[in-house]
């Protein structure tokens, strides 16, 4: 017998012991450093009063109370690895995850909406960071379609390519469920709510539809009261894990507003393959307004490198089926706006699905030396003009709008503003700088050898896609 025999024989160690050694190791590592990606978005649509058709018929109340509460699906908790009932717990968890999944292709018709809205909303001549949640906006528009009729509704159905309100409802429910995860390990909730002024009677069946289809809760109170504003801000803060508190504090409700519709996404997940804290270095990012120094995380892994005529891209998986974050780097000389309006780039973003076989032509499996700046970006935009540019005009105009499914008390109701606040943070605790030599960046040509340096040291696009391939968030990082 020799050392080789012994080494080979060690290959017979039980799988469960090998797994245990891995889990125990990972547990310790998580205690030492956490690498987390956290994202939140809110979209609030303020709907302002028009002319009362009926005298005030509701008493003014000074409390804010829930009139419809949406109930979320129950999910089995993510199993505790050391529990004696691990296998049973795992089975229950796995079943509840499968129950949320939808048929492949259930949202294929939304690609045009996602593409046109990403282009409209993210393109800008300014050098600010921007981020947009297409799913968030989709759900908000779906709800607006529920509370409007005639041409006001039709414009939304047209944009979302739904042939009827029923088709939209079915798809919205499917989409909501596909992106719902609340198992203690991953949190992803598309929460919605309606804040209604108690001077006005709202159509109860419409509120029921919103609770059943969009899981939206409704609250009623005196719009400008401190209590109502506090309740509203607390709801937004809770739904976004406190990530957007600074923005939330500035959101108020005024007397003219009769209803506010709020949708939010809160998403938190860990990288499937973590960055080593000790590899993080301080380096230069070439922003449009000049060079800045920021922390770059580094990781070398075996992965797929993609390229197009004007970009190169890599994806980084999020743990626990949490989806993938894609980093899309424009080639030298190509602006972010060029990329947004490049058909091939948008096609790339729209076809990223973990559940489909990836047939992107320009891809190669190799060792990727990824250098990614740590960033925590906040984006604040009013989407009113963008939505109008996308063809939704009637609801913004008190003369042409039709909000009859919402209330019969008044006419001339219109949407006044559509603020969309997003924050995306890639977080790491603690930094130890070590020397790192940045190498030349690969352009759009196929990578030459077996490895590539993918250095995101100038403005880039990112997209976070769910396992279905739908874009949860898309953004532009100009300043990490």
């Amino acid at each position: 017998m020799n050392r080789n025999n012994l080494y080979e024989s060690i290959g017979h160690i039980d799988d469960k012991i090998l797994e245990r050694s891995e889990k125990n190791k990972r547990k310790k590592r998580h205690k030492r450093s956490r690498f987390v990606i956290a994202l939140a978005a809110i979209l609030t649509i303020a709907i302002v009063a028009g002319l009362f058709l009926a005298p005030e018929n509701s008493p003014i109340v000074m409390t804010t109370y829930a009139i419809r509460e949406a109930s979320y699906p129950n999910m089995a908790p993510y199993p505790v690895e050391s529990s004696p009932t691990f296998l049973e717990d795992y089975h229950a968890w796995s079943e509840s995850v499968t129950a949320q999944k939808q048929e492949l292709g259930y949202a294929d018709n939304l690609k045009n909406f996602f593409t046109s809205s990403i282009q409209q909303i993210l393109s800008s001549e300014t050098s600010s960071n921007r981020a947009y949640s297409p799913l968030n906006v989709y759900l908000a528009l779906g709800m607006i379609a529920e509370i409007t009729d005639n041409n006001s509704r039709q414009q939304i159905l047209d944009l979302l390519e739904a042939d009827s309100i029923d088709t939209l409802r079915t798809q919205a429910t499917a989409l909501w469920n596909a992106h719902y995860r609340n198992d203690g390990a991953t949190t992803s909730i598309l929460a919605s709510s309606l804040w209604l002024d108690d001077h006005i009677s709202f159509v109860p069946s419409t509120l029921d539809t919103l609770a059943d289809t969009y899981y939206a809760s409704s609250y009623q109170g005196t719009m400008e009261s401190t209590e109502m504003i506090e309740a509203f801000q607390n709801w937004l803060s809770k739904q976004t894990g406190g990530l957007l508190d600074e923005q939330v504090e500035n959101i108020t409700l005024d007397k003219k507003t009769i209803m506010v519709l709020a949708t939010s996404i809160y998403f938190q997940a860990k990288w499937e393959s973590e960055f080593e804290k000790s590899q993080t270095t301080s380096d230069t990012f070439h922003s449009l307004s000049g060079d800045i120094t920021c922390d770059f995380m580094h990781k070398s892994t075996d992965g797929t490198y993609y390229w197009g005529d004007q970009f190169s891209a890599v994806g980084k998986r999020l743990n626990n089926d949490g989806g993938t974050m894609w980093f899309i780097l424009p080639d030298e000389g190509v602006s972010i706006d060029n990329l947004l309006y490049d058909e091939q780039t948008m096609d790339f973003i729209m076809t990223r699905s973990e559940r489909n076989t990836d047939d992107w032509e320009n891809q190669k499996r190799l060792i990727i030396n990824l250098s990614l700046p740590k960033f925590d970006i906040t984006s604040q935009m009013d989407l009113a003009k963008d939505l109008q540019a996308l063809g939704i005009t009637d609801v913004f105009n008190s003369k042409s709008s039709d909000f009859s499914p919402l209330t019969t008390d008044m006419k001339g109701i219109s949407i006044s503003k559509v603020p969309h606040d997003v924050r995306v943070a890639i977080d790491e605790e603690g930094v130890t700088a070590t020397a790192y030599t940045a190498m030349l960046l690969m352009g759009a040509a196929p990578p030459p050898d077996d490895k590539v340096d993918f250095i995101l040291d100038r403005p880039f696009l990112f997209a976070i896609t769910s396992d279905d391939g739908l874009p949860l968030f898309v953004g532009v990082v100009q300043h990490p």
């Binding site: 050392r3 080494y7 080979e8």
Partner: protein, 187 residues
């Protein structure tokens, strides 16, 4: 995609099984192979061989733990490659130190390698590791199955390098006694 679905794809002889395995475990198998070979090109080839062996092995196998099933194949592929190339002194992985440490468990090494010995010895080692306390078993597995550097193991379990070396040394002594007791080596 979860592991059972991937295994199901192998059973259906659906080539997507390989693509899904590659997506989920490509970098994992790469690191298993690269710990042994310390050479990206060779490790990458081992990973590609791993999918071929998995394709040939499932069915008849229906692995309960796909990750470890693939890890074992990748480890075998990499070690075979190491043996073939060691004559050419190629590669500088952790494996050389690991093998030197393992030789401490043996009294006299024979050049004769036998698959039969490896099989029987495998069961003997399996029993030995089962009876180790959790932490010793884990650290032994990380070092001698996964071929990880001692510093990485120490970091992973929140220990000092010195402490980890002491634990490994004690476990090797225990293994030597076990091998003597089972009649594989003679004092």
């Amino acid at each position: 995609m979860d592991d059972q679905q991937i295994v199901e794809l192998y059973w259906q002889r659906n080539p997507d099984a390989i693509e899904q395995s590659r997506k989920k475990y490509g970098s994992y198998c790469f690191s298993v192979a690269n710990n042994i070979l310390g050479n990206c090109e060779d490790s990458e080839e081992c990973v590609n061989d791993t999918w071929l062996h998995a394709w040939n092995g499932i069915p008849p196998h229906k692995p309960k733990v796909l990750r470890m099933f693939l890890a074992k194949i990748a480890r075998n592929m990499a070690f075979n490659r190491f043996k073939l190339r060691s004559a050419k002194k190629r590669g500088s992985g952790e494996i050389t130190s690991v093998l030197d440490e393992l030789s401490e468990c043996l009294v006299n090494e024979s050049d004769v390698e036998s698959e039969l010995i490896a099989q029987e010895l495998g069961i003997c080692i399996q029993q030995f590791v089962r009876n180790l306390p959790t932490r010793e078993g884990d650290i032994f597995s990380r070092r001698y199955f996964f071929t990880e550097p001692i510093s990485d193991i120490a970091k992973g379990y929140g220990l000092t390098v010195n402490h980890t070396m002491v634990i490994l040394s004690r476990t090797r002594n225990k293994l030597k006694k076990h091998l003597i007791k089972e009649g594989y080596i003679h004092e």
